[in-house]
Amino acid sequence: MWRSALLLALLTLTGCTPAPSPLQHTADAPVPLAQAVLIAVLAGDQATLASLALSEQEFRDHIWPSLPAARPERNLPFSYVWGDLHQKSETGLRATIDRLRGQALTLVDVRLGEATVYDGYTVHRDAVFVVRSAGGVTDDLRVCGSMVEQNGRWKVFSYVVDD
């Protein structure tokens, strides 16, 4: 738990760099973000994991307005879209923790899939964590869904892993 807290503090500090982002608890690159996520997952630290992903307020204020789904003609209430995403994210996260908690894994790298540019931010889809086990075996893990990048700061979009 203390390692996660330390990482969170470091992430928060690095959030005070000249490139401002309204998102909290961000990282300056995908790898440190993934590192914080992986450590928290292995520790079962749900509070830290929640802070590393978009909150409802962040989604409403900074993400939702630029999503195509938010256009008035789509008639989609924010509450519907957020509720659906959040439910799936929570479910995915719990399943991931159940699967990985307590394992001895270290992050080697992160691979990101297609990038979609929205007004004000970019979503990098299908994040794959490349990890190494205590025995030295390297493997790919899906721990979160997409990552969002805003003004050079990175955060987890959701923990929905479409497996």
């Binding site: 993400i63 999503l67 195509p68 789904a69 256009r71 008035p72 003609e73 789509r74 008639n75 989609l76 209430p77 509450s79 519907y80 879209v81 957020w82 509720g83 659906d84 995403l85 959040h86 439910q87 799936k88 994210s89 479910t91 995915g92 719990r94 399943a95 159940d98 979609t116 979503v123 889809r125 869904g145 997409s146 969002v148 979009f157 959701s158 929905v160 479409d162």
Partner: protein, 441 residues
């Protein structure tokens, strides 16, 4: 074979349609007066907002779903046979039936109801529009008994297994499955806590971006269903689905797609109740045997995360890598305690027809009559993306004539069968013919 273009001459004039659509509609309106669109043989009606009371859509119009269209609690939407509904790509048309609402879309073999994209033929693609979401009041195993939904939208689940969300019969749905947001794509048809009070028969979901059919708990039954060219799983369930299903056919394409069946009880807690335990009889999966278009869709059936299942009379072909897998202790518990029943089926094509988790049960007879060394009896037409043929050439060729089906319960839903697989061998009637279509664009 009936194609959308046969039903709606001139849908290729989508630019004109789009122009007309853009001109017509203030968002607050629910049903706009029909407009004439050059190149389209029927007046176009744009639908937005919420449906209250009873609304009837008839086949002398084309209906365009603009944005999310809600069928509210207490409302009923009736759709006549032969009606074409186009989900508007620009606004991601989506039809959402709330708890207490009903959708009665009843087509016929010669006049199916078609939900499609409003994009020009040749330019349509997976994810052009949203799809159909049905919310009901049947039980599911999310703690609290309801799916999380805020405000008055999207809440599903309850305690009425006989709840009805309406009836769908002879319905095609294609090019749907857009995303609400990154990481959240829509299924072709999502059965969310839907009860068994309605009926779902002769339904095809084609070229969906995410799963074709997914059940989130509930008790809904389905019969004669086809999932073709899905961008993810073809049939998927979670949160405790306990319905019945007979005659399910899958066609996969290697450019995208995943499992033919991906089945969970509940991924958070594998033993939550009511446990997913559908009864499925007569299933055919034509997995893509080659990699001409990509490397996806290489595996067929996965039971996991605590689901139980009755899975009888199946034919699994193609699927280059894996035929069937049972994953996780809670899922295996359902086999060992006698709840899960699998048997009478043939798997031919995957490099590993049976995962190591399944082999012991086949070897010791717990899963009777599962064959992996005989041809399925399906022709190469099973793997043709534009016109898949699910029909075995004859009884004699069906698994070498070796396999008798296991008869389903005589409960008024299931039909007595003389064959394994979703479609009877020739010369019996191919129920997939006459109302389905497999356009690639």
């Amino acid at each position: 074979m009936v194609h959308a273009t046969d039903i709606l001459k001139g849908l290729t004039a989508a630019a004109a349609l789009a122009a007309a659509v853009v001109m017509t509609v203030p968002v607050a309106a629910q049903l706009q007066p029909p407009v004439t669109v050059p190149g389209i043989d029927r007046p176009v009606v744009v639908v937005t907002g919420e449906i209250e009371g009873t609304m009837n859509w008839t086949n002398n119009f084309v209906y365009v779903l603009r944005g999310a269209v809600f069928v509210n609690d207490g409302a009923t939407l009736n759709i006549q046979a032969g009606t074409l509904i186009a989900g508007e790509a620009g606004s991601v048309g989506t039809l959402i039936v709330l708890r207490g609402g009903r959708l009665n879309a009843i087509g016929t073999r010669t006049q199916p109801i078609v939900f499609t994209s409003d994009q020009p033929v040749g330019q349509r693609a997976r994810g052009d529009w949203g799809g159909i979401i049905l919310n009901g009041r049947a039980p599911l195993n999310i703690p609290g008994g309801e799916g999380v939904g805020e405000a008055q939208t999207g809440v599903y689940g309850g305690n009425d297994p006989n709840d009805s969300s309406g009836t769908m019969r002879y319905v095609r749905l294609e090019f749907a499955g857009t995303e609400f947001s990154p990481d959240n794509e829509l299924n072709g048809i999502a059965f969310q806590g839907v009860g068994r009070g309605g009926a779902f028969e002769y339904i095809q979901v084609h070229m969906n971006r995410d799963d074709a059919f997914e059940w989130f708990g509930g008790t809904a039954d389905i019969k004669h269903a086809i999932a073709s060219n899905a961008g993810d799983d073809s049939f998927d369930w979670t949160f405790g689905w306990t319905g019945r299903a007979q005659f399910l056919a899958v066609h996969q394409r290697s450019d995208d797609g995943d499992w033919a069946i991906e089945a969970d009880n509940n991924e958070f807690n594998n033993n939550l109740l009511p446990r997913a335990n559908p009864q499925i009889y007569n299933f055919t999966s034509c997995g893509d045997p080659d990699t001409n278009e990509g490397v996806e869709a290489f595996r067929a059936v996965l039971f996991r995360r605590g689901t139980a299942v009755t899975f009888r009379n199946f034919v699994i072909a193609g699927s280059r890598t894996l035929g069937m897998q049972i994953d996780g202790a809670a899922t295996l518990d359902q086999v060992n305690n006698g709840t899960t029943q699998i048997g009478a089926g043939v798997i031919f094509g995957p490099a590993t027809p049976l995962h190591a988790s399944v082999v012991p049960f086949v070897t010791n007879g717990r899963f009777p009559n599962v064959r992996t060394g005989v041809a399925t009896g399906l022709s190469a037409g099973c793997f043709q993306h534009e016109s898949p043929n699910f029909q075995p050439t004859s009884v004699a060729t069906l698994a070498g004539g070796q396999l008798a089906p296991i008869q389903p319960p005589n409960d008024g839903f299931f039909e007595t069968v003389t064959f394994i697989g979703a479609v009877p061998p020739a010369p019996q009637d191919d129920w997939t013919a006459g109302w389905t279509a497999y356009p690639q664009r």
